[in-house]
């Protein structure tokens, strides 16, 4: 059973990417609907399988590592696979209606979309450092393609900035991989973790390089300069994919590296330093989001701020008691999931609002609530999750992180968490406020199709409901996993 699920999960996106390359946008849409259905079902099936039987290792096509591709299927990975299926399906459905099929370049949307999905699944499941690199590059290149899709100068400029940033990030990461391989002769993350010692400056250097590269790709402050233009200028479904999923991929690798190797290769200064950069992102990103005149720029800068929270993982899991570390990991996982859902909902809703008022500016939103657009509700609900107010997933994440900070005595992160919530409220309420203003001169208002309005609503409701069902979601992450056998195998491979 698992064989079939894995095959479906990995094969479909690549096959669909190749197939849709041959079709135009409309035909590609039909094909992709089928593909999204398959992917969603397979992801759900895999999640259920892992939730009931625990994780497993899977060697692609029977080729074992190091030459073959070994995949690690555990609770965290399948959770993200499922998240990807949900968000990507939503964005795909939305894009099918949102994008104008008469433009000839739109036919490239579907191949890029499917390559992106394939890369994301590769990252969630990847067990060795080099395959993670390849998957990351697959994601980056297709994401850049998606940003450039409009073909206008501004989009190309943003895409080029984006491309250069992620390419540099990938190479710095790869340099770290090269150092680690030179040192230990294996690429398997668990294999390295099994043999690495406490005092190895070369390995520590490698970790630092890899984290730096990944931080650039995740747009950690102060390396975030490329993100707002790229996410702001792209078409709304693309922005939703980028903000919801793509930046999470590189963070996910950084987090895995840190959790496996950080206790020996990291240091207190490094952990606190990364946390401080995260805090800087929260504050600076929120402030810039508050200042933006354009709706989508607000949402994009909000991503910079929300990504900052993720990096609190590093100080909150370094040299702390096991239960505290677990709280922090759970909190960060929830933050990833809830931000992915809320932010993609927000981008899609923002796209609809922009369609409705025919302007990208925040102050053009005056009186929108008059027309009671569904999208405004979706936007508002997603905003509640970003402000991390109850009962949303964002709140659940913040609660766990607060507990972790308090329990480890690092009260300064409490300040960051609370301040971040207030700042998020400032930029979200600025939008709410604009929509309630009743002095709109013109009554020029376009109602987007219902299907466009329903999708962000569903995503926003998922983000909201996540807070209520956080416990069962988190329990899948804590499933037992047979690590011992795999580590033994990896050590044996070593010369």
């Amino acid at each position: 059973m698992n064989q079939w699920l894995m095959a479906g999960l990995l094969f479909t996106p690549l096959a669909w990417a190749a197939l849709s390359l041959l079709l135009d946008f409309r035909q590609g849409r039909w094909l992709s609907w089928l593909g999204m259905l398959i992917q969603a079902l397979v992801s759900l099936g895999l999640w259920v399988a892992v939730a009931s039987n625990g994780g497993f290792y899977y060697a692609l096509a029977g080729w074992e590592a190091p030459l073959g591709i070994a995949l690690r299927v555990d609770g965290l990975a399948v959770t993200f696979v499922l998240l990807t299926a949900a968000v990507a399906t939503a964005c795909g459905l939305h894009a099918g209606v949102y994008l104008d099929p008469s433009k000839s370049w739109q036919r490239y949307f579907w191949p890029l979309f499917w390559f992106l999905w394939a890369g994301l699944n590769g990252v969630w499941l990847g067990a060795d450092l080099f395959n993670l690199y390849v998957s990351l590059e697959l994601i980056s290149l297709s994401a850049v393609g998606l940003v450039a899709l409009g073909g206008e100068a501004a989009a190309l400029r943003a895409a080029l900035r984006y491309l250069f940033a992620v390419l540099l990030g990938s190479l710095v990461y790869l340099l770290g991989v090269a150092l680690l391989y030179g040192q230990f002769g294996t690429l398997s993350l668990t294999g390295i973790a099994a043999v690495v010692g406490a005092d190895e400056p070369a390995a520590a250097m490698a970790l630092l390089l890899m984290l730096a590269g990944l931080a650039l790709k995740t747009a950690l402050f102060p390396l975030h300069g490329w993100l707002p233009p790229a996410h702001g200028v792209a078409k709304s479904p693309v922005s939703a994919l980028l903000s919801g999923l793509v930046v999470k991929a590189s963070f996910y690798i950084a987090a895995r590296l840190w959790l496996e190797l950080g206790d020996r290769l990291g240091s207190h200064t490094l952990a606190q330093g990364i946390g401080a950069l995260g805090a800087g992102a929260v504050i600076w990103g929120s402030w810039l989001a508050f200042r933006q005149p354009h709706l989508k720029q607000v949402v994009a800068y909000s991503s910079v701020a929300q990504i900052g929270y993720l990096f609190l993982l590093f100080p909150l899991t370094f040299a702390v008691a096991e239960p505290v570390s677990r709280l922090a990991q759970q909190g960060i996982t929830l933050q990833v999931v809830s931000h992915a859902l809320a932010k993609s909902a927000m981008f899609l809703a923002a796209g609809n609002l922009i369609l409705s008022v025919r302007s990208k500016r925040v102050d053009a939103l005056g009186g929108v609530s008059h027309y009671l657009p569904f999208s405004l509700f979706s936007f508002g609900l997603a905003g509640v999750s970003l402000m991390s107010l109850p009962p949303t997933g964002g709140f659940a994440a913040k609660w766990l992180l607060l507990q972790a900070s308090l329990a480890s005595g690092q009260w300064w992160w409490v300040v960051v968490l609370l301040l971040g919530g207030v700042l998020a409220a400032a930029y979200v309420f600025r939008i709410y406020r604009a929509t309630f203003l009743e002095d709109r001169a013109s009554d020029d208002f376009y109602h987007p199709p219902r299907s466009l309005e329903a999708i962000p609503m569903l995503l926003a409701l998922l983000a909201l409901g996540l807070g209520l069902v956080a416990e069962p979601v988190l329990s899948v992450l804590a499933l037992p996993f047979e690590v011992a056998a795999e580590v033994a195998a990896d050590v044996a491979v070593q010369p």
Partner: protein
Amino acid sequence: MSPDLLYALAGVVLCGIGLFGFLLLEHLLRRLLAFNLIGSGVFLVLIGLAQHRNGPDPVPQALVLTGIVVAIAATALAVVLIRRYYHLTGHTSLADDGEAQS
């Protein structure tokens, strides 16, 4: 010092030169070339260091092969974008920010 280590060190130097160019050059094609230079440096480090430590090893060769394919794909994409950007705006760099905003 083995020749393998020499390769690795040369790779590090290449990375440095490439990084220098990548950060300081403005012309998009030059930056792209600088990126390729860093890439080559990293590949040299990957092979050289591994063989220096562990003796002859097919794995890094296979990895670098894959890496080269990825780098070619990235370069091709970048060239397409740069070319299109040049056609639309007449610029060869991203430095002049305010102009293309509209």
